[in-house]
Amino acid sequence: MSQLGFIFKEMFFPNRDRHAIPPLDGAMRPNSELDDVETIARFDVPPVGLTSDGVGGVYCAVGNVIMKRNDAGLFEDFEGLDGEISALAADGQNGLVAGVVGKGVRYIGGSAAGTEWTHAGGKSILHPTAIGIAPDGSIWVAEGSQQNAPKDIIRDLLEHGNSGRIIKCSASGETKVITQGLAYPSGLVCQSDGSVLVTEAWKHRLLRFRDDGRAPEVVVPNFAGYPGHLSTGIDDGFLLCFFAMRTHLIEFLLEEDTYRKNMIDHVPPEYWVAPSLDCNETLLTPLQFGRIKVHGETKAWAPPRSYGLVAHFDSEAIATDSYHSRTNGETHGITSSCFANGELLATCHAQKSIVRILSGQKEGQNV
């Protein structure tokens, strides 16, 4: 039936919007900047939620532990929690807001320490993926999916997950569901004008929310990758990490329900035909023809299973800079990034590391 529908559409609506993968051009043109970065920290599990409090403090979460960067530039334990931390935000007054998988969102340190939000709209806040602190002090939380934990993010993609929510939490402990049914909101940043930018990963788009009951505005309708973590950029702009890139094969697979369901049921997740945040290909990893090595080399432009990409967008949501690690690179699966003290830092899932993309001294960068 779907085949007939496809033929029908091809015949009568050949010029319809196919939501095709846009080319990486302009400021998004691929380079190898992420391959030449300096690794400043390496962990046993992939770090997430890199965040800067704007007054010199840099934090990230590694498993159950929040790490803070010390004066020597090294990350050391800051606070341990009772669950896996999946999102982090700093309020600039020694306070941190952490999202804990399965347990909700809570305040750590600062004046509001101990405040906790565990439910919204009658349901538990299970899988927070991003947290933002608005100028008015309210906390905005993106919950990627009701079903799948952040570590099962790829399963959510293959299951056409659409149970993500945006929740607004007030200092008094109340919660309000701004919207639900999103296809994996994976990044969130509060803008100075009170609006909130949210990335909807499986629809490859960027949305702008305001707490006025209206539908969100679509800021960027179609990215070439799966947009993830958002953080504040330069001149009202924002930094956006793409944790993986879209490929024709995956777009096709998402329409192939029978094969996809069989694969989910019978094949171990690490061997799925799916995007990946890791770049270690084993003997059993599926391959695409373009990725066959020639003369012992993987082609940089081959269809990527994993990819590294951080991009900066200006206040009009137009890309100004991008930092890539292409198919033949290894700095893949960028899960978060932030500007801190003139540096651009990012967490790399594949290398379980934190890398410095720009050091403050680099010329021409007004950070």
Binding site: F252, Y259, N280, L287, H295
Partner: protein
């Protein structure tokens, strides 16, 4: 009997509707199939509605009418094929008809003179068309439109002039009556003439230079001119021939009716044009045949006759014919334009294939397959100087030979093979290699066939075709992708042809199809005969004669299977499976020094691709919708080499996890205590020391003995 049963079984297994369709549509004889089916349908429908339609009497009367119209359609088809049009066919018919009647009845000429005179008259009328169109290069449409009007005017004027004398004069001749109404074995004479003329013109068109020139001019006039074809003369003669055919029709009509009316041959040009286009003769020229013209003419004949017989008015049948012409022209345009693309769309036809369970290769597998990193430390030889050494081999002087992507066979020599020279140029893609007993290098060249390079570097063709499979739609006798070979002690060369459906650079498509399109072929130098030994194999790749020379081992890449074909003994001629479930895709096989075999794995199976193999619909849509670089494929980045015994027991493995130095291992050759690794996309040959191997063993000596006449001389 058994052979027949086996052949038939293979035929049944090779059936695929999609594959057959794509191959059939590519055939030229398939072009008129749609009109032919249409004709059969029309006859079926009309014979249901019209009583006694298929009776002998009715068929005979139909045949009389059909014959004359058949000539007109043939005349039209010829000029359309050369890229022109002849609207004057009806007028020439009428004028010739009248001319013949006058000569016979009024002048009283004998039949033996009337016939050549009428045909000459037709040739004269045609030469007017031919001269203006062919020599003066005027537009065929306008010229024949004008001559149509003029010829008809002359016909009407002279009919008026001779009306009186026609009415009173009467001539009688048995021959004339026989031409008009005679039958041989119940078949009307004029129908027999049509058949004869059709055969002559068919031979002319398909088997003679004249016919090829005609179609070439219609297909591409400028190219034909550049090729030196005399266009003016050809066009002139075609129009003459066209009019001669019309006058022949007129003559037969004259003999049959013995009268002429003002509407004789009226609107024949439109009917004939409809007929040829319906039959599948392209209006743009260059494409058509006698058969198509006849099918088209038959459709028109049956349709008009059927309509009249069922009481439709003349206007009504004109309307129907017009509509049919309109549809036929539309379909003709679209089909010509999209045919190739349509075939391309359905050519790749993936088959269902269920691989057996995959043995584990992980580090804790506990079997011989257990992964190690022995290939990772392989020494790289010829690094950067080699482009895709698919196979490697050593001669008696320890020199190494490798085929490369640019069609060369290179020779590496020196203590560490640091020197490289071109040994021979093949012109294709050299793949598997073997030395024969006279130190000739026999090599499978993809795209060309089986070749031999003598020690003096002379390249000789051994064979490039085998016997055709009787049930194949496309001629599969030509070798497309000869892959690997080995030579039996009696000199017979057994080699594999990986696939007969795709070229070397399209091999991924065969993997996606996973259909048995390959074969094992035997070439016997003694008789210079090539015969297919085993057909319908799934990408047969490595071939190796066993140590006891009683069988050959061969690998089938996409089905992950190693098999044996018995050359002698009680199971001679039988195929048996040696290893049914390899963990990867097997490639070349070669002997090892300890009486065992090395088997290369070009890539590893992975669960996601295995699952896709049992879902042909998924693969079909994938191939159609996404670009080739994006297709899912077996993991061809991780290969390895296995050592196996005669019974298929895996004893030793060599892996390169992560494909750090040898991404794709397509072959390996043991030589004097080392194992050398080749890869079809690699830029190096790997060398691994084999501490337990015989340090003096080489494959040349193992196959052909230590002594060599030439070496002694040297």
């Amino acid at each position: 009997m058994q052979v027949i049963a086996k052949e038939f079984g293979q035929f049944v297994r090779s059936i695929s509707l999609r594959k057959s369709m794509s191959e059939l549509l590519g055939k030229r004889f398939m072009d008129p199939v749609i009109p032919f089916i249409f004709l059969v349908l029309i006859i079926g429908v009309i014979s249901v509605f019209t009583p006694s339609y298929l009776s002998v009497g009715n068929l005979q009367s139909l045949a009389y009418q059909f014959s004359e119209f058949g000539f007109i359609a043939l005349a039209m088809a010829l000029v359309v094929m050369i890229g022109g049009i002849d609207l004057s066919v009806g007028s020439v018919f009428a004028l010739s008809n009248f001319f013949a009647l006058v000569l016979f009845n009024v002048v009283g000429l004998p039949v033996g003179l009337v016939i050549p005179a009428t045909l000459l008259f037709g040739a004269f009328l045609g030469s007017i068309n031919g001269f203006i169109i062919g020599i003066l290069k005027a537009r065929a449409f306008l010229v024949t439109l004008v001559t149509m009007i003029i010829f008809r005017a002359i016909f009407l004027l002279s009919a008026e002039h001779f009306a009186m004398r026609m009415a009173i004069s009467f001539n009688y001749s048995d021959a004339w009556d026989f031409i008009g109404g005679g039958r041989i074995l119940g078949i009307p004479f004029n129908a027999l003439v049509l058949v004869a003329v059709c055969i002559i013109i068919w031979v002319l068109l398909t088997r003679s230079r004249l016919g090829w020139h005609l179609l070439a001019i219609g297909g591409a006039r400028r190219s034909a001119r550049n090729a030196g074809i005399p266009i003016q003369r050809m066009v002139f003669s075609t129009y003459v021939l066209s009019s001669v055919l019309c006058s022949l029709a007129g003559l037969l009509y004259a003999a049959r009716q013995n009268s002429s009316g003002s509407d004789t041959g009226q609107s024949f040009e439109v009917l004939a044009l409809t007929a040829v286009v319906l039959g599948g003769v392209a209006m743009s020229g260059g494409r058509g045949s006698v058969g198509r013209a006849m099918i088209g003419a038959a459709i028109i004949m049956v349709l008009t006759n059927g309509l009249v017989r069922n009481g439709a008015s003349g206007e009504m049948s004109s309307l129907v014919l017009g509509a049919v012409l309109l549809i036929a022209v539309g379909v003709d345009v679209k089909w010509t334009k999209h045919k190739e693309r349509a075939i391309e769309k359905i050519y790749v036809s993936p088959a269902f294939y269920q691989l057996p369970e995959c043995p584990s290769v992980t580090a804790d597998a506990g079997s011989a397959y257990q992964i190690n990193d022995r290939a990772q430390n392989a020494e790289a030889l010829g690094l950067g100087k080699l482009d895709g050494p698919e196979d490697i081999i050593f001669d008696r002087q320890n020199r190494m030979y490798a085929g490369t992507r640019d069609g060369l066979i290179v020779r590496l020599y020196g203590d560490n093979y640091e020197h490289i020279e071109t040994f021979a140029r093949t012109g294709g893609r050299p793949l598997g290699m073997a030395f024969d007993k006279d130190d000739n290098l026999v090599v499978c060249v993809a795209g060309m066939g089986l070749y031999m390079v003598t020690p003096d570097r002379e390249v000789k063709k051994l064979t490039d075709e085998t016997n055709r499979t009787w049930y194949s739609i496309n001629d599969d006798s030509r070798l497309r992708l000869a892959d690997d070979l080995d030579i039996a002690p009696d000199g017979k060369i057994y080699f594999s042809e990986a696939t007969k459906r795709y070229e070397m650079e399209e091999w991924p498509l065969d993997g996606i199809e996973c259909r048995g399109s390959g074969r094992i072929i035997c070439y016997d130098p003694a008789t210079d005969r090539t015969r297919t030994v085993i057909n319908n194999l799934i990408f047969p790749n490595g071939v190796c004669v066993s140590h006891d020379n009683k069988s050959i081992l061969f690998a089938q890449t996409w089905s992950c299977k190693l098999s044996r074909y018995w050359l002698e003994g009680p199971k001679a001629g039988k195929v048996e499976t040696v290893i049914p479930n390899l963990p990867g895709y097997p490639d070349n096989i070669n002997r090892s020094s300890d009486g065992k075999y090395w088997l290369a794995l070009v890539g590893m199976r992975n669960p996601a691709y295995d699952m896709a193999l049992s879902d042909p619909g998924f693969r079909t849509r994938m191939v159609k919708r996404i670009p080739p670089d994006e297709w899912l494929c077996p993991n061809l980045n991780n290969g390895g080499a296995l050592k196996i015994t005669d019974s298929g027991e895996v004893q030793e493995t060599i892996w390169d996890p992560g494909a750090k130095s040898h991404a794709m291992i397509t072959s390996m050759r043991e030589h004097k205590g080392y194992l050398y690794l080749g890869g079809v996309t690699n830029n190096r040959v790997g060398r691994i020391p084999l501490p337990d191997a015989d340090p003096n063993w080489s494959s040349c000596e193992d196959y052909w003995g230590p002594s060599s006449v030439k070496e002694k001389k040297a």
